[in-house]
């Protein structure tokens, strides 16, 4: 698969996880793509941690409003029925469990649901921004990530090596190869892509996967 197809596959699959009227926060990068696949009838409300609900599509070129950006600084719009608030309220919404689902990327994620996505000591120390609050506050944490690093190393580990964003908060991991659910017992392989096998997925995963009798197709 082309990279763009892989990313859209992941985004589309994740959009299917949302329930009607869910409040959802999408992280920067790949997670932002999820918005393109949300069914209109579901009345999903997107929350942006810089201070509003009702994130809409990016404006047409030349129509950007400098006061309306998403948490990544990209110009967006606010849909009718949106609401603006300050940062204390924005994180009261997140920390207070009023966000039904958040979608975030990962540097590493592990079999216990630990997530590392905010720093590589000595190399990359951008800061956690709102990620720690999102991962510990959102009711459902969905990780959208390539299955392996560019160098081909597993990103889904027995145990994260990098500093954590939050401990034991991840619920679901979606990659271009598989959908894995975090359970008390470890990662359950729920779906695999059409062009792969259980063996290939396991080979590319450091954590040991629990293989149920029935495995769905990731599409």
């Amino acid at each position: 698969m082309e990279k763009v197809d892989k990313r859209n596959l992941i985004a589309r699959r994740i959009a299917g996880e949302f329930k009607e009227n869910d409040v959802v926060n999408l992280g920067i990068g790949l997670p932002t793509l999820v918005a393109n696949y949300i069914e209109e009838g579901k009345n999903i409300i997107l929350h942006s941690e810089n201070g509003f609900t009702g994130v809409g599509m990016p404006p047409a070129s030349g129509e950007e409003d400098p006061d309306i950006t998403n948490a990544g600084g990209q110009p967006v719009t606010i849909v009718p029925g949106g609401a603006c608030f300050d940062s204390a309220m924005s994180f009261a919404i997140i920390r207070g469990g009023h966000v039904d689902a958040t979608v975030l990327g990962a540097l590493e994620v592990d079999a216990e649901g630990n997530l590392a996505n905010w720093m590589i000591p000595g190399k990359l120390v951008p800061g956690m921004g709102g990620a720690m609050d999102l991962v510990s506050g959102a009711k459902k944490v969905i990780i959208a990530t390539d299955h392996c690093t560019k160098a081909g190393a597993p990103k889904i580990l027995k145990r994260c090596q990098l500093p954590l964003t939050a401990a034991k908060e991840v619920d679901l991991i979606v990659t271009e190869l598989a959908v894995m659910k975090v359970t008390e017992d470890g990662l359950v392989l729920q779906e695999i892509a059409e062009d792969t096998t259980v063996e290939e997925v396991q080979a590319k995963t450091d954590a040991e996967l629990i293989i149920p009798h029935e495995i769905g197709v990731l599409k």
Binding site: N21, I45, T53, G54, G81, A88, A92, I93, R95, G96
Partner: protein
């Protein structure tokens, strides 16, 4: 997401023994239509979290008179003689909390905080039974979060997504209670269409609100 129900349906969501937050300050900013409907039900043994017990003929005060309450967490009962009488007779358990501490406890409940440290009440009976935490040599009371099963609010306008605006001093505890209950029901004086409230003027974002009662229809 706001879904419009009538006052009777709203009242029906309040079940025996539930913890209920109710907006209002001496009855100003209380959901009177929902209270009307509650008085028609057989619901009882409620724990109510409210700034004060208002007056016998207004706001939550009417629920006190009608014996709907087993317990009340509040900052003031002085304007309702029935609160005092029922407290003295043991029918109503009254827990008095400084008003600013009550507000922070409700906000903490809604904001996912484990509590806040307040200097209010240090050196008074308000600190009895509370955990005291010293920061920089100064004592603070650890005020724990409060949450409820249902919040019954009053707003000026609401749109169909549940976004709310309030009017003047009728705002009071309504916006923080909107954050702190499992089911949030707002009685609005006027129901408007989505998009009619400017996002900058919304006080309670609609994501907190589960049901709207159109006060004009009752």
């Amino acid at each position: 997401m706001g879904k419009t129900v009538d006052a009777r349906e709203a009242a029906g969501m309040v079940k025996d023994g539930m913890t209920v937050m109710m907006g209002g300050f001496l009855g100003v900013g209380s959901p009177e239509k929902v209270i009307d409907a509650l008085l028609e039900t057989s619901v009882k043994e409620l724990t109510v979290i409210v700034n004060d017990t208002a007056f016998p003929e207004k706001g939550v005060g009417r629920l006190v008179v009608a014996d709907k309450l087993a317990r009340v967490l509040t900052s003031h009962i002085g304007t309702n003689k029935y609160s005092r009488e029922k407290m003295n007779s043991g029918e109503l358990k009254v827990e008095l909390i400084p008003q600013g501490t009550l507000a922070e406890q409700i906000r903490a409940g809604g904001a996912g905080l484990g509590g806040v440290l307040t200097p209010t009440g240090i050196g008074t009976v308000a600190q009895e039974g509370k955990k005291i935490i010293k920061v920089d040599g100064k004592d603070y009371i650890l005020a724990l979060p409060l949450t409820a099963d249902v919040a019954l609010l009053k707003a000026h306008k609401g749109d169909e997504l549940g976004n709310l605006v309030y009017r003047r001093s009728a705002r009071n505890f309504n916006p923080i209670m909107a954050m702190a209950a499992k089911t949030v029901i707002a009685e609005v004086e006027e129901l408007v269409g989505v998009g009619e409230i400017d996002p900058d003027q919304v006080i309670t974002p609609g994501i907190f609100v589960d049901y709207l009662v159109n006060g004009k229809e009752g």
